[in-house]
């Protein structure tokens, strides 16, 4: 593996981690919100 390929792979990994870092708590918030709405209007 060349150093350019290694750098590119590292950036892809960083990209995945960065998006998971912010999307995981965001998804938790959205799920909690939807549960509230469904529970109140549909349940």
């Amino acid at each position: 593996m060349t150093s350019a390929e290694g750098r590119s792979g590292g950036r892809t990994l960083l990209l995945v981690i960065a998006w998971l870092w912010v999307l995981a708590p965001f998804a938790y918030g959205v799920v909690e919100l939807i549960r509230k709405v469904v529970g109140l209007f549909g349940g």
């Binding site: 590119s8 912010v22 938790y28 709405v37 109140l40």
Partner: protein, 450 residues
């Protein structure tokens, strides 16, 4: 003021091959955190019970926080432009987290003033600097899709409360003691510091000669998109700035009018119908409005990249006025119509916030767009007073006059229609900025002095 090496703008110029898609998560790590401010209400009742406070007193940390947000965004904007996004994100992280730590100390020692000064004062500076910290950087990375880019970040501010509200509630439990509240503040301070640090570490600014492949062709074709730059000081002298100030203020006022009183409003509206709304269902209505407020920030702001900024504000303000008209005319005839109209109005409220940085970029260029945005956020502070003042004041006076149901709010809705029409006219007055306000070519390098 010298900026430490690690935080300096020169240290974060992206190397060739750096992906711009790392900048939105950097921005989101800040906005999802500071958006916690809108979940402050979770702490109100526990603080009132344990420290013996009134409802007004327990709201003080939040109110001071919003005031400090407006002030620090307005006065710190130029500093943020000069020192760069890493410095701004680091300042926001330190201030926001320290605010929680001071609040923890205040609760633990029974000194409520420390909660107000800590969360509201110090934390509020973190809110303002954090809110504007990624804006100009995102616009520079996404000149082809500025609405979408800033929409993602500003959607995060709406999403922050969605995360914090259930998380803080779970941490506090059903009957928290002062020790539990202090511990919760402490944990918030530490967790947010770690979470926001991601943004500080990965944010990068594009090199001066960096351009995405699509940008040049797109920006050259549209008359309302300027390629010139205007300084923050000069922007204040233009009628365009003040037209947009009116547009933002009135669009936010119209949204807050519903948002701030959503639960009692829907309960009052359908009280005398065959299908009254329970307190629990009213809470669901509030949650639904939060969702559309958040989604509107991304969806409408991204749409503005396709249809243009002036057109999307025509849509927010014009259709918003029509939706208020539908509510005013149908009153409590249909719950579905009422809920759908309110959802759309709140999506326009969120969209108005999120589209603004791109509108400013179109008019004033990227040179000091963050600082100009910060100054324009004073319209938010004004609307935060104006909206509740209108709706609460009228509802109280109608109640005193013996009225009930939709009659409590009808006059407010007609006023909102009038305000939105005024906002629509202000948006129509927006024209390209005159050449005399433009910066001379070659003197608008990124981060240069204001």
């Amino acid at each position: 003021m010298a900026v430490p090496g690690f935080l300096a703008r020169s240290r974060i110029v992206a190397p060739p091959g750096w992906t711009r898609w790392l900048v939105p998560p950097a921005a989101l790590s800040i906005h999802l955190s500071i958006g916690q401010a809108y979940a402050w209400s979770v702490f109100k009742t526990p603080l009132e019970k344990t420290l013996g406070l009134s409802g007004t007193q327990s709201g003080l940390p939040f109110q001071l926080g919003i005031v400090m947000l407006g002030l620090s965004a307005a006065f710190g904007g130029t500093l943020v432009e000069r020192n760069g996004p890493r410095w701004a994100m680091a300042v926001a992280t330190v201030c926001f987290s320290t605010g929680f730590l001071l609040a923890a100390l205040g609760v633990a020692t029974g000194q409520f003033w420390l909660v107000v000064a800590g969360y509201g004062g110090v934390g509020g500076i973190g809110l303002g600097i954090g809110y504007i910290s990624p804006v100009s950087t995102l616009i520079k990375w996404f000149p082809d899709r500025p609405g979408m880019a800033t929409g993602i970040a500003i959607m995060g501010f709406g999403g922050g409360a969605l995360i914090a509200s259930p998380w803080s509630s779970a941490m506090l439990g059903t009957s928290p003691t002062t020790g539990d509240i202090a511990t919760a503040f402490l944990i918030h301070g530490i967790v947010y510091a770690v979470f926001m640090t991601l943004g500080v570490l990965i944010v990068r600014v594009p090199a001066d000669d960096w351009r995405p492949a699509r940008a040049a062709a797109q920006t050259a074709a549209k008359p309302m998109i300027s390629t010139a730059n205007v300084s923050a000081a000069n922007a204040l002298k233009t009628p365009q700035f003040w037209c947009l100030w009116i547009v933002l203020c009135l669009n936010v006022t119209a949204g807050i009018g519903i948002l701030e009183k959503a639960a009692p409003m829907i309960t009052d509206f359908f009280k005398h119908t065959s299908a009254p709304v329970s307190t629990a269902s009213a809470a669901g209505f509030v949650a639904l409005l939060s969702l559309t407020n958040m989604l509107g920030r991304f969806v409408w702001s991204s749409t503005s990249d396709l249809v243009g900024r002036k057109n999307i504000y025509r849509f927010y303000l014009g259709v918003g006025a029509l939706l208020y008209l539908v509510i005013a005319l149908t009153t409590n005839g249909s719950k579905l119509v009422f809920v759908l109209c309110a959802m759309l109005i709140l999506s326009f409220y969120g969209g108005g916030f999120a589209t603004l940085p791109a509108y400013l970029k179109d008019l004033f260029g990227t040179y000091q767009v963050g600082a100009i945005h910060g100054r324009l956020l004073t319209a938010w502070s004004a609307a935060g007073v104006l909206g509740p003042l209108i709706v609460d004041g009228i509802a109280d006076s109608q109640k005193a006059a013996g009225k009930t149901g939709p009659d409590l709010y009808q006059l407010s809705f007609w006023i909102m229609i009038g305000l939105l029409v005024v906002g629509f006219v202000a948006n129509e007055c927006v024209r390209p900025v005159k050449e005399k306000f433009h910066e001379p070519t070659g003197q608008t390098a990124v981060g240069s002095e204001a």
